[in-house]
Amino acid sequence: MTNLLMLPILIPLATAILLIFLAKNVPAQRWVSGISAAFTAAAAFLLVQKVHNDGIQTINLGSWEAPYGITLVSDMASALLVLTTSLISLACLIYSFKSIGIDREKFYYYPVFQFLIVGVNGAFTTGDIFNLFVFFEVMLMASYVLIVLGGTKIQLRESIKYILVNVISSALFVIAVGYLYSIVGSLNMADISVKIAASGQPGILTVVAVLFLIVFGLKGAIFPLYFWLPGSYYAPPIPVMAVFGALLTKVGVYSIMRTYTLFFYHDQGYTHEILSTLAVLTIILGVIGAVAYWDVKKIIIYNIVVAVGVIVFGIAAMTPDSLAGSLFYIIHDMIIKAALFLLAGIIITITGTSNLRHISGLIKRYPGLAWTYFIAALALAGIPPLSGFIGKLLIVQGGFEAGRYWGAGIVLLSSLLVLFSVMKIFINGFWGNPRSYKNEDKAPVRTLLIAPVMLTALSVFMGVGTEVIYPYISQAAETLSDPNLYINAVLKE
């Protein structure tokens, strides 16, 4: 079926439209969005298998040939990310059913959620730089709505900052695409890559590369452009926060990965040096934030920044190993961040506070929650045999191979502090004397726990079953480290 790689975009889009008609009927909305999320995940899974067996899949929208029309390209990297996105959206939807509240559900929560998934899946799949911008906007506009929906004071304040930063970065994105178009005269990514390779990336293209880095750095929160993230992600309700933390920054990181492996790989001494320096600084700043706070949400938010730094460091090293590592780590991090946010959400639902100093002894009454959190925390820090280990191992290995000893060392050290920051939650929150909390009996802990347990199990599977997953990852890394595979698949030369 030619349109298979369209399905992970098309199913949520059609669902979102359908859900607008169902806005008044909350149970129907839940059923429809849940079922559609399951279908999206199934389609994404089929897509991964298809790419694994038959190589890179492309589709020329409207039957217009490659450099002239919009091409959607699903190589293994994007197919895997689409699958991860679909699974996370399914989990977050399941969590939303119990936690988001009828008021938000009545005001188009589920349609907007589906539009967000459309944007994310589209951004991962597209093979056209301007189309990437459009999908970024689809994703961002949906995220504007999700961040402000409910209209509490903190949400209003933070959404203004969030929208302001993103409007500016989107304007920069258009400007960068404009520059690129005026130099190479094409918008198709494969075609751009061919033309940049033919010109050997003169200085002006390196400038455009840095401009793209600023744009995607603003979206993906790398140092020094991460300043908006801690505040903005603090505001929305938990399932929204989980989706944001798991998906949105990763789209920016994926775009850096795509542009720096496909377009701007000719002047690595300059561009990738900047990338690696910024990555290391991102890790340091993120770790400082993660260690400094005594707020459950803040700690996990700063861990997003750390992870972004680690992934970008792997991209900067540009060896096949480190790219495979980055890819493995990005998938692991999406899953485990969603799980951690949802677990933090349950803690907050039970205790009514996110301040760690007011929480203790939860393990007595909620052992399931406690041990799930414990496993998720170990996975985040990269303890073997859990999922964070392989990715970080490959990134460090690639870093040493590329001669970036300092950076690789800092990646290793950061794991320690990441572990400290999440264990701080475990030790202070779960151990100690049990206290009583006012929401204790009302919180539907068992039902809420389904989604994070699913995600944690997935993460454990990724770690234990690395043998099963690694062929897919290495196939993806192969495409990333050899742009010709991508170009030939799109332009069919």
Binding site: A14, I20, L61
Partner: protein
Amino acid sequence: MKTNDIILQTVTKVTLFIIILFSIHLFFAGHYYPGGGFVGGLMTSGAIVLLLLAFDMKTVANILPIDYKYMIATGLLFAVGTGAGALLFNAPFLTHAFKDVYLPLLGKTSLHTAVLFDTGVFLVVVGVTMTIIQTIGEDE
């Protein structure tokens, strides 16, 4: 003192149809001349806004009992449906088809599925514009 805007209301009644006709013209001209779904939709909603200025919200809601939010969804349905129609023929998404048909009165006319897509754009633009204006207008 009670204001009397009979002049405004009478002029509105006359100009409304001219504006609507012009917007329909823009919409259908889109394939060969400047125009299309976006500007056509914007001008149609301009006409409705003129109605809102001349009369009050309740009267307009009585004249045009439309829930504009459903209009947005219908428009999206048109656009996505046109694209997804290609799936039935196992062609890539958004592949359009056209045919020259002889119609009575109009003569030889080329019918193109892109018009359906444009209809979707038209409906979404009208729906979004009117939703924004109505929501702000009703806000106390």
